[in-house]
């Protein structure tokens, strides 16, 4: 399994009530790489991310993360759905950052960060707290540890959410449009944190419409439309010199919206 990529998705399909949202997605992500997922709204980007960490069950295909088949055990040529507890254990290895932050509103910033390490991994509060402090320092919020989410700006909340996901020391980080719900002036601070993570070698799959981030940070850009991967490759190719008409028109639409 050592030569396998960290994320290995093969022919993933998913339908919602006869509406086929993913029509056979293949994706490989090497450890330490950053993959940006682009595509028009409704193309299935969120659904695919949620399939990776089993917030959605897939109808067909397979997803391996670090050699683990997500959501299933394979015996012979049959697949068996894992128990809730086993799936929960798989999810520990994968951090997720949501469009709308989803911080726990009844906990302070630092309690948001230590909750899972303490409750799920059984870490001592003291150890978890020390690491949480370091993580909040790293995202520039070392002085806001006692603040409740409602007292933080959107950009600050999203940075706490990133620290919360990192606290589980995941092998893979998923970002679902992490800056789309933010006021424009707050986008930069979140992207800066993500850039730093990428520089430190974090494996990341990022759904985003931030073209400069994709161009500068991504190792691979994947363009999805209507449930299929239309085009994938280095940003210089997919963004700089797209081959497919659908990619071209999506990019030009995005450019005209931003100017």
């Amino acid at each position: 399994m050592t030569d396998r990529p960290l994320v290995h998705a093969v022919n993933v399909t998913k339908s919602f009530h006869h509406n086929e949202v993913l029509k056979g997605i293949d994706l490989d992500v090497e450890a330490g790489q950053v993959v940006c997922l682009l595509g028009p709204s409704g193309s299935g980007k969120t659904t695919f991310l949620r399939c990776i960490n089993q917030l959605e069950t897939i109808d067909g295909g397979r997803i391996w993360v670090d050699g683990d088949l997500m959501g299933y055990a394979e015996r012979g040529d049959k697949l068996y759905r894992l128990k809730d507890k086993e799936i929960a254990a798989q999810r520990r290895e994968i951090g997720m950052v949501f469009q709308r932050f989803n911080l726990f509103p009844h906990m302070t910033a630092i309690d948001n960060v230590i909750e899972a390490p303490v409750q799920v991994k059984g870490e001592s509060k003291k150890v978890a707290r020390e690491r949480a402090q370091a993580l909040l320092d790293r995202v520039g919020l070392g002085d806001r540890t006692a603040a409740y989410p409602a007292q933080l700006s959107g950009g600050q909340q999203q940075r706490v959410a990133i620290a919360r996901a990192l606290a589980m020391q995941p092998k893979l980080m998923l970002f679902d449009e992490p800056t789309s719900a933010l006021d424009p002036e707050l986008v930069g601070e979140v992207l800066a944190v993500m850039r730093e993570l990428a520089d430190d070698g974090t494996t990341m799959i990022v759904v985003t419409h931030e073209m400069s981030f994709a161009r500068e940070v991504a190792d691979t850009v994947v363009f999805m439309d209507a449930g299929v991967v239309v085009e994938a490759g280095p940003p210089a190719d997919v963004i700089g010199n797209p081959q497919h008409q659908r990619t071209k028109s999506f990019l030009s639409r995005l450019r005209s919206e931003h100017s």
Binding site: R92, N102, Q119, A150, R164
Partner: protein, 273 residues
Amino acid sequence: MTSPADTVVRKGLSPRKRAQRSRLIQYAILIALVLFALFSANWGQIGSVFFKPEFIKATFQDGVLQALVKTVEYTAGAFVIGLAGGTLLALMRLSSVGPYRWIATAYIEFFRGLPAIVVFIAFSLLPLAFEGMTIPFDPYGVVWLALGIVASAYMAEVIRAGIQAVPKGQIEAARSLGMSPGLALRKIVLPQAFRIVLAPLTNDLILLVKDSSLVFIIGVAATGYELTGFGRDLANTYSNLTPIVVCGFCYLIITLPLGILVRRLEARAEKSR
């Protein structure tokens, strides 16, 4: 520039004049009623039946404060049982397992549809029906159980609404961090759900204080009397209503602050929306 609608209104009184006149009429009626009450009622008799100072004193000497404490104890214990039972029932109602849902729904509908007094009569007859049966912590056990059984049915619906009001993204965030469904429920969903329904739950607590007045029907011993049982007993003894009035004021000492608390909580919930 006057529109046709304006001219129609102008023919009669203006809206402000009309409101003024209606207010005047209401005050006139009020003053007439107060005058009538002042001159027609026999205040001497009312005072000696409802507010006789020596009976007020006697009520305190006979232990109205112990009865007040009993009311609080009965209510508090029943509230804890109602909270636990209500949470369990709410979770059963939201379960994906059909039979759990059916059992919870049947329980809730049954005990919400029944007058509480019927449940209390049933409890009073239990020792007759099951000879030698005892419920521990006499007299608390039987009272807590009777009150709690009814309260849990009411509270279950409130708590269920609270659970459903927690945004889905919260559960997904918890799951994405590797929390099991049970852990996510305990640490993330329920704390938020209870916060959401703090005001309606406090309302249920007020109702419970008042329902505790029914426990004398179960037939507790005189040492177990709460406010109503105590007041009724004393009023019978003295053939005077003053003890009942004193007990009534004692209820207000408990329920009025709770009512204010509910209003504060509602205002806070409104603001945080």
